[in-house]
């Protein structure tokens, strides 16, 4: 494990507004130099990156490929059953080692020159190592041990596999903090069953999506379906819990707790409520109370790019992968639990109509970031305003707040030193 070289502050030039995290300079969404610095300072810096679920690779030799920021990685269960994460690059000439999205193997062999690596990333074989008839081949002092795959530090918590390039970042549970680990324990309290995966390509900077997912203020305004059918409204009992560094959050609400009267929802001033709309078949919003705490919607954002979703009985992990400064791809992994009944699985599948690229309450998020990206290209020096719920980053009883968006920028500024 080697620390990555850190770009210096001169690699980009960004002056954060004096008002702090209640202003966001549009430059952060358009600057290619900044994007490159994010790869080093965030994704390869002092963070834990979620790579997958243990349940995706149940047996030794099972692997999946993924990306950490722009860097392709392989997650594999080794012969001893431990999770390993490597950069997906042959240690010889740099070719992509594994092109499949998932599979099972005894070793990873590069197609270019047949160099092969075991499930712990150690170099095990080199084609024509001894040449032919004492001609060619590797020097006799070639050190196999020094030419393994680049191996990341890995930790597993409640079945979630995280990896980091950093030798310094605190252990995963410490880095997450007690509130975030408690939410992992709540969702991943028993073995999961994976229901499928897909992705949504967005034409905007990756951080515009992370702002969106942390923005409890927008959710029941932009997403009319959510509001009209009472899945989540700001008038329900709920809250916004933010980690001390600002980077992680959980927003939650309880459907049964709603007090609608006297809010803007009932005053016909908002496009979000359509009183006369009735569902012909309400099964897609009907849920069973699954968690003892009564929370019916909980969205957890883990810095920099992971989302843990509970929308009623629809459970999913979402991983935001940057695709250059003005594009990104959101990878969804839908799941239930191994001991779900067929009826419960069917309810989860029906409620999955609410989420994903065709989600009745989430499709708009695939578009709204692009509406920002389109307007800011020539105005990198102007700023967005984030003053709902104050100008600070604190846990809040109200979700009429942009506090967790400010929290994201607080963590971002620390990590990027801006």
């Amino acid at each position: 494990m080697q620390a990555m070289p850190q770009p210096t502050a001169t690699d980009f030039s960004l002056q954060w507004p004096a008002l702090g995290v209640c202003r966001v300079p549009y430059q952060v969404f358009t600057d290619t130099a900044l994007y490159n610095a994010e790869q080093a300072r965030i994704f390869r810096g002092e963070v834990w990156n979620w790579v997958g679920l243990e349940a995706e690779t149940p047996h030794p030799g099972d692997f999946k490929t993924q990306r950490i920021g722009d860097t392709p990685v392989i997650m594999v269960r080794d012969a001893q059953g431990a999770m390993q994460v490597f950069v997906n690059r042959c240690a010889h000439r740099g070719a992509l080692l594994c092109v499949e999205q998932r599979g099972h193997t005894k070793q990873f062999t590069c197609v270019y020159h047949n160099w092969s690596f075991d499930l712990q990333g150690r170099l095990r074989g080199v084609a024509f190592r001894h040449g032919i008839r004492n001609q060619g081949g590797l020097p006799s002092d070639f050190d196999f041990a020094a030419h393994g795959l680049q191996r990341l530090r890995v930790e597993v918590l409640h079945g979630l596999v995280f990896a980091t390039f950093s030798p310094h970042v605190a252990p995963l549970a410490t880095w997450l903090g007690p509130r975030m680990t408690a939410h992992f324990a709540r969702i991943f309290h028993r073995p999961v069953r994976i229901l499928g995966s897909y992705s949504q390509f967005m034409h905007n900077n990756w951080k515009l999506y992370m702002e969106n997912v942390k923005d409890t203020y927008h959710a029941s305004i932009l997403h009319l379906f959510l509001t009209t059918f009472g899945v989540n409204r700001l008038s329900m009992e709920g809250g916004l819990d933010i980690s001390p560094d600002g980077g992680h959050h959980v927003s939650w609400s309880k459907r049964a707790s709603e007090q609608l009267a006297g809010t803007e929802y009932t005053q016909k001033t908002m496009h979000a409520m359509q009183d006369d709309m009735q569902l012909a078949d309400p099964r897609i919003v009907q849920m069973w109370p699954e968690f003892e705490d009564g929370v019916t919607t909980a969205i957890q954002g883990i810095f920099p790019n992971l989302v843990v979703q509970q929308i009623q009985n629809s459970l999913a992990l979402r991983l935001m992968i940057p695709q250059g400064v003005d594009a990104c791809e959101l990878h969804w992994l839908l799941f239930g639990y191994e001991d779900d009944t067929p009826e419960q699985t069917d309810i989860r599948l029906l409620q999955s109509n609410l989420v994903g690229p065709a989600g009745l309450v989430s499709m708009e998020d695939g578009m709204i970031g692009n509406w920002i990206q389109r307007t800011i290209a020539q105005d990198a020096d102007q700023t967005a305003v984030l003053e709902m719920g104050g100008r600070e980053v604190t846990t809040q009883g109200s979700r009429v707040s942009e506090a967790s968006v400010r929290g994201f920028w607080q963590a971002y500024r620390t990590m990027m030193d801006v």
Binding site: Q101, I194, L195, G196, S197, Y198, S199, Q200, F201, M202, H203, L222, L224, F225, T228, Q274, M277, L279, A280, D281, R283, I284, E329, L334, T345, L349, L350, S352, N353, G356, P357, A358, L360, M363, E364, G366, M367, N370
Partner: protein
């Protein structure tokens, strides 16, 4: 053979009407192509091949289809766009009690109101057709997209 040709021709005519309904934005009629308890879903080829049940879009019955169109008209927010479906290669998989299973390739081009044109989806329809009062209806329609990735959003059915 003659009977097989007949069902394939009838299925092709039904599919032509079905894609015309979508491409002409006559979506209120879309549920009528199904039996009342008809199943419609859009899945990725990868999930389908792996036996993973998650769908992009999943309706059990005409009521849910109606609700999808209601949401598309009144709740969901998206930039105006239209599809143009191209279909080919309809073939009979097998006949079973009460109906026929057929497969048809599709290719959908999306044109945005801005004029931007992209290939939005390709794949196949796996259909279960039944006959009701002399007319063919879909009892099941599984839209299998070759790609697992959707550009921006999917609001109009395929």
């Amino acid at each position: 053979m003659a009977q097989e040709n007949d069902i394939v021709r009838r299925a092709e005519r039904l599919t032509a009407e079905y894609i015309g309904c979508i491409d002409d934005d006559a979506l209120e009629r879309w549920p009528q192509f199904f039996t009342e308890d008809g199943m419609y879903r859009i899945v990725s080829r990868e999930n389908y091949a792996r036996g993973m049940p998650a769908s992009f879009f999943y309706c059990q019955g005409q009521g849910m289809m109606h609700d999808r169109i209601l949401a598309l008209r009144r709740a969901n927010i998206y930039e105006p766009h239209v599809y143009r479906h191209m279909v080919s290669g309809t073939r009979l998989r097998h006949e079973e009690p009460g109906g026929w299973r057929l497969t048809t390739n599709f290719h959908v081009v999306r044109t945005m109101h801005t004029g931007e044109i992209v290939v939005f989806a390709t794949g196949c329809f796996e259909d279960m057709l039944v006959e009701r009062e002399g007319a063919l209806l879909f009892r099941e329609k599984t839209v299998i997209c070759d790609s697992s990735r959707i550009d921006t959003l999917l609001v109009i059915p395929l």
